[in-house]
């Protein structure tokens, strides 16, 4: 006890943290032998998170292997690219959904907001507004609707499920009204090439989804906002009593989800070359499925945007294989349901603790093998 007193006594409390920060940059890593400093790198933390869900990658590989056995067409680059393009819209929505789910919430309105965005974007361009402005308008509108969701949840004290359920209905209705009685065709060529063209070998929608995912992953891992979302999802009361702006952050998460729904709506509009009030329905559930298959808990505080996208890709690939095999859409729905149940059984259900344990045990075995071979 005397040692700890002298250590603390060197610093006054108001200086403690500042001193710490200053001392850190000059001093050698003051860590115990049990924990070498290089083991605490943040990149390693992220890798560890991904590895603890390593089975998802293995599941993805198994799906690919099974697909290649079932059909020679499956592993062609053309088919795989088409899977990626198909999955890109859900991926963008899944990333948005992830921001909400990590707070312990849910956003059922994203499908309707995407539809509304497709209509608004298409109408704006039909009225001669340049495509960049039209796109920004649609995305901003999505963000605004998301923000409304967030404000009702935070200040209205209504559960996310109800608020976004109501918004799902309202946004859909609004989309019908804005659309009028006809579909709104999109013929703006720069818009189409921006959202359906290619950048080198990479299709634009895939690029958009990939960038969205990576930016989100960086925000969640390295930005204060991301950390605060994990904290408030993990324990909202502790986050509040630690002085974190819980209300603002929660509202922001819904705004992000809405903005990404707006982006997804533009992608849909480009793929279909029209804006329509009916295009988005069902997407919200696909996005939620992707996030939970990716291992995030609906109670909040866990998960990762990259894994959410991976979850969506696994679902999309399985559906693609069934398409190739000519399995009817009705049966595909059943398989999708089973996949979701199995995935959640292993990610946040009764078997959730087992799987990461097995994998970390495997990892330990592997690293032990490596160190012993290095030693010999």
């Amino acid at each position: 006890m005397s040692k700890q007193k002298t250590q603390l006594a060197e610093r006054s409390p108001s200086e403690t943290a500042a001193d710490l920060a200053a001392a850190e940059s000059t001093e050698h890593d003051a860590v115990t032998p049990a924990e070498p400093a290089q083991r605490t790198s943040p990149v390693r933390d992220v890798l560890l998170t991904l590895l603890s869900r390593g089975y998802l990658f293995i599941v993805a590989l198994i799906v690919l292997a099974v697909g290649s056995q079932l059909s020679p067409f499956f592993l062609t680059s053309r088919n795989l690219v088409s899977v990626l393009i198909t999955a890109s819209v859900v991926s963008v929505l899944a990333v948005g959904q992830f921001f909400v789910i990590v707070t312990g919430g849910i956003d059922l309105s994203v499908g309707s907001v995407a539809a509304l965005s497709s209509v608004v974007g298409a109408l704006a361009m039909a009225n001669g507004i340049p495509f960049v402005l039209a796109s920004l308008l649609a995305i901003a509108m999505g963000a605004f609707i998301g923000l409304l969701n967030g404000l009702f949840i935070v200040f209205g004290g209504i559960t996310p499920f109800i608020v976004t359920l109501a918004m799902m209905s309202a946004a859909q209705g609004l989309a019908y009204i804005v659309e009028g009685s006809r579909l709104v065709p999109v013929d703006n060529s720069s818009f189409l090439s921006a959202f359906t063209g290619k950048l080198g070998p990479i299709p634009a929608p895939v690029l958009i989804a990939a960038i969205t995912m990576l930016v989100a992953a960086v925000v969640m891992a390295f930005r204060r906002f991301g950390r605060r979302l994990y904290a408030l999802g993990g324990n909202p009361e502790a986050a509040r009593l630690s002085g974190l702006p819980v209300k603002r952050d929660t509202a922001a998460a819904y705004a992000i989800s809405g903005a990404l729904a707006g982006l997804a709506g533009l992608m849909i509009a480009a793929q279909l070359t029209e804006g329509s009030a009916i295009v988005g329905s069902g997407y919200e559930l696909n996005a939620i499925a992707a996030v939970v298959v990716g291992g995030a808990s609906l109670f909040g505080g866990t998960g990762n945007p990259i894994l959410a996208v991976l979850g969506g890709l696994i679902i999309a690939t399985i559906l693609n294989i069934m398409d190739i095999l000519g399995i009817a859409a009705q049966s595909q729905l059943i398989v999708k349901g089973i996949v979701i149940l199995l995935a959640v059984l292993f990610t946040s259900g009764a078997l959730s603790r087992r799987l990461p344990q097995w994998f970390s045990a495997l990892g330990r075995l592997a690293s032990r093998g490596r160190t012993s071979s290095a030693a010999s």
């Binding site: 943290a17 003051a30 204060r224 904290a231 324990n235």
Partner: protein, 515 residues
Amino acid sequence: MTAVLDTPTVVPRLAVTGVSKAYPGTQALSGVDLEVLPGEIHGIAGQNGAGKSTLVRILSGIEQPDGGTVQIDGTPVQLSTPQSAHREQIFTVHQELSLVPHLTVAENIYVDDLPGTRLGSVDWRTVRRNAKKALQELGFDIDVRKPVAQLPIAHRQAVEIVKAVGRDARIILLDEPTATLPRHDVVHLYAVLRRLQSRGISIIYISHHFDEMYEICDRISVFRDGRKVGLHPAEQSSHSAIIHAMLGSVSEQTSARLAVGAGDLPRLGTGEPSEEIALAVEGLTDGAVLEGVDLTLHRGEVLGVSGLTGNGQTELAACLFGARPSKSTRFVVNGRPRRPRNPTDAVRLGLGLLPEERKTQGLVLDMPVTKNVTMSSLGRFTRYGFLSGKQEARTAQRMRESLKIKTSSVRQPVVSLSGGNQQKVALAKWLVSGAETLIFVEPTRGVDVGAKLEIYGLIQDFVRQGGSALVITSEIDEALMCDRVAVLRRGRVHGTVERAELEQLGESAILQLFA
């Protein structure tokens, strides 16, 4: 002692042999043996993290041991679920009681064993009569038609015990049964336990309080660091032996001081507060419980806030920290005349709150130690807009060393730490944030003796370096350690006791203001 121990002819009611349990990062139990005789009240003592709760969880079928055996009356048993523990007639009264709040007393007692009528409906009259009778046999007069949520804690506990007895319990585990009980209810509880004992029921009694154990237990098993380190007769004479066994490496002096008890309490403050104001309120009301609190905490001072539970302590802490809406005629924080609008604002003003419910209010349990420690000062760890995990880890590491936070790594989730160490993580968070004034609410509740002393030491250090502390506590001993003590009564400060009076009159100076 020998009379009880050297009777090989008695088959132990419960024989635990070589039980081990590991969690990621900690060996919670290693090779523990425990023997409880029929009709014995067996105490289990140990610091937080000694393995008491793990043992309770194993014996109630919530967790599976990694190895070892459990025998009841000589027969090996598998306690794979709470149901199977019940089948073996082991019942646990947990610290947080596990009753259904909206069901009535009678319904709770018979919820899994409702008698039917010939028509197939529930025979409520029999249920109520039996429940009433069972409660009366243990000396409780409780309206069995009342929802459990409306009962005081002591009666809820009684319902749990009756539930166990009604199902022919052979063994009852009581986990910190008196933690929230007023004294006269404790006396009643002892009477109940003795009655159960005379029926041959074995009782395992887990508590932080030795006095209780000497009063009620036959023998005491002492746990430390996941091992059983001693078995003692429950007598005052073995007091220092037990403390030694519990603390292990702590010096002779410390355990001697502990043994002396209230006579020689450490003092939290320096006794030299400045005239500057750290925290002051006048006429603080919250429209519900607080009815005009006046309070002044000077810089460098430790102000205790005492009082019977429910006189506004919790609400006061929340209002001072901006976590609960309030009104006041004056509010000064660290010299600035401002009322914090919300906790974010309070943190900005240099306040920190260590709430009563660490697990639900103070920490994000599934997050690692590091991220909990840096939670309130993320800006300090941000470079060019990005968090520096390396710096966070270094700071956490430094805090781990200076506060002696016991964990295998700062990357361990806080949930794997013991209560005392969790409290240190909560304190580390505010030290890193540079808070000048800290509000402690029941800082050592649910914390064992050794960690208690450490936490007192940390409060001393904090104040010695110019910090100020408001210590809201229901433990008189803790209040006696403060520079001054304000006693809350019915939402007001009923009186303030100066240091001189505290030293002269001791606890009576505080207690006379309680009622």
